[in-house]
Symmetry: C2
């Protein structure tokens, strides 16, 4: 393998695939980055047991030769140090040669690095996914779906499918649901689909989605999503992001979502968020971070107390319809939900002191959050 | 105690004293902030076993009443939560009342906090330092002295006085020296002194100086330094910073500093720094982070190798006088030294392969760094 490449292009590519490279892995070869030069271009791949990120740099790119392949070939280089080297190279172009025994030379201006490369045979092969059933979605829509739901997954590995987000597609509507059984978040979006693609019970680990959102973060473009038996692939022309799927059946969440409310209220999202944030100062050291709302005719009284530290109370203006009501819940869940809501006003529906309640932006029904209250003395 | 104060003023003051408040301390009262309202203004104090930071807000400040004392008094409030509360208060002004049993109420707009305060008697009293022997110094000069030397202290508590910076003053010249016995950094500056103040063997913990630099960071002003038996006080009108001093006698470092060099060189500080930074990529996982310089007639050849990973070599242009020479040393020490040097060119003097060498900016003799080389196979 012998190539010449623009440094800035290589830095970007290595930085992308490095997100999938772990320093702590039981499979040593996965601490490396697979580098493959073919007649079409350069491909870099990083992988861990959950996700794989692959970046392809084609021979021609924006009409300038950003990568020039003198000889094809492949090598695995240690991920962390390769990334550091590339970032610190002094010149604008990089000469990169892989010789016998995968001995690798990286040259840029006056600096010359020699790296012990590894053979590539043992690097896990990527699944070949059929590109028949493709869902196309704008990256900002995809990232909004992840942002609105990803925080609600369970962080306890023992919870199985609840550590993932359920993705479903029916009649062109993509829905995401996550719940840790104490709270639930739901978001839907319209997408373009080829044929009559449907997705059912696709469960993607929450951690994978967090990385996915970073991967396609700044790019104002459309990605293709392809789902196979135990893998999801999200790709653009240059980047492919693979995530394993969780096995098992996601529970039916429809019955958890309250349908009618006895008490409805409308309030400023920002005022409510700030009041809950302040109240949680007193409760956050407690096990359940419990705060209490008392819904009055024209306001919500927010209370929180800790025997050791002290207490806090304040009133937030609200338009209330229905019965007065007191309800206690985990302040963290409310903060998480309110932070994702972009509309100025939020509507909340209660059916009782001990039943789950519904939080929604006032201007769309594409998204909702449910919180299960906490019984207090 | 009953006061009214501008929120922004209180936020700044609490944030300053919080730097001295530890969450992990064997003396529980030191997790709190001492708050004292007198007829002159409000004083906040945070302290740990090493440093104490005190902020004084006088009754009148910039011609507006930023603090208004209705009733004098004092209380200790839990530091972390008090800081969080103050920062998150909704209004621009804060009503603050301390009642029976140190029960404290903090009110701002619609929010009302009740905090369990503590009695103030057990809070450690500050030493009264004689304000006779005062050294006045601009904060940027003080911070430069700290920045140029503080990194070279030993980080091992077992090393005693070497964990501190030696500060001395003679004939209006303030000098700072730090060494961990593998490298040494020295910086001097002219200062204004009252009478014939001299300082000898004043040893300030490196950690205290790091906090000191943060405390007076953004302020373009002059501070007064007062040294007593086991305390140093650095103060402006509004902020007092106390640090304990280390006991013991600092070793004589004059004999460590090489006087004459057999080989002299002049090179670009930036080019040299970047080459050492690159070379250290190969050596940083090793115990001593060893890299090698070969001084040639017109250049420095920089080499580093790790059996597992690989090697790097490059040449940096230099004006060299004297004998050719090979020398190995800890790349980290060189990076630390070169990073503090602001002049474009650096001069380096060697007396031999196994003797300490001298690094200095080309345009001033106020500062120098010494590195002890490492014997290699």
């Amino acid at each position: 393998m012998q190539i010449r490449i623009q440094k800035s292009i290589l830095v970007d590519a290595v930085s992308q695939v490095s997100k999938a490279v772990s320093q702590k892995t039981t499979i040593p070869i996965l601490t490396g980055i697979l580098c493959q030069a073919t007649s079409e271009g350069l491909t870099l791949t990083g992988s861990n047991s959950d996700i794989t990120i692959q970046v392809f740099i084609s021979l021609k790119h924006d009409e300038t030769d950003q990568v020039f392949i003198q000889q094809t070939g492949e090598v695995i280089l240690p991920g962390k140090i390769f990334a550091d080297i590339v970032r610190k190279l002094p010149g604008d172009t990089v000469e990169w040669v892989v010789g016998d025994q995968y001995q690798t030379t990286i040259r840029s201006k006056q600096a010359e690095f020699h790296l012990n490369g590894l053979p590539t045979q043992e690097f896990p092969r990527l699944p070949q996914l059929e590109e028949e059933n493709v869902v196309s979605i704008a990256t900002d829509t995809l990232n909004a779906l992840i942002r609105q739901t990803g925080f609600a997954v369970s962080t306890s590995e023992a919870r199985g499918v609840l550590t993932g987000v359920l993705i479903q597609l029916q009649e062109g509507i993509l829905t995401c649901v996550a719940t840790d059984s104490h709270r639930l978040s739901y978001q839907q979006a319209m997408v373009e689909v080829s044929n009559d693609v449907q997705l059912e019970n696709v469960i993607v680990p929450g951690k994978s989605l967090a990385e996915l959102a970073k991967t396609f973060h700044d790019q104002d473009e459309v990605v293709d999503i392809i789902v196979a038996e135990n893998q999801m692939l999200v790709k653009t022309e240059h980047i492919s992001f693979y995530s394993r799927l969780l096995e098992g059946t996601y529970p039916d969440t429809n019955r958890v979502i309250p349908k009618n409310g006895e008490t409805h209220l409308l309030a400023s999202t920002r005022d409510l968020l700030q009041s809950v944030d302040r109240a949680s100062l007193m409760s956050r050291d407690g096990r359940d971070n419990v705060i209490k709302w008392t819904i009055k005719p024209n306001s919500i009284e927010v209370n929180s107390a800790s025997q050791d530290i002290g207490s806090v109370s304040e009133e937030v203006a609200a338009q209330v319809e229905g019965n007065e009501l007191s309800i206690s819940f985990n302040a963290r869940y409310m903060i998480d939900a309110l932070r994702t809501i972009e509309s100025d006003q939020v509507k909340i529906q209660f059916t009782g002191t001990m039943t789950p309640f519904l939080i929604q932006p006032v201007d769309t029904s594409d998204s909702l959050h449910v919180i299960v209250p906490i019984r207090t003395r």
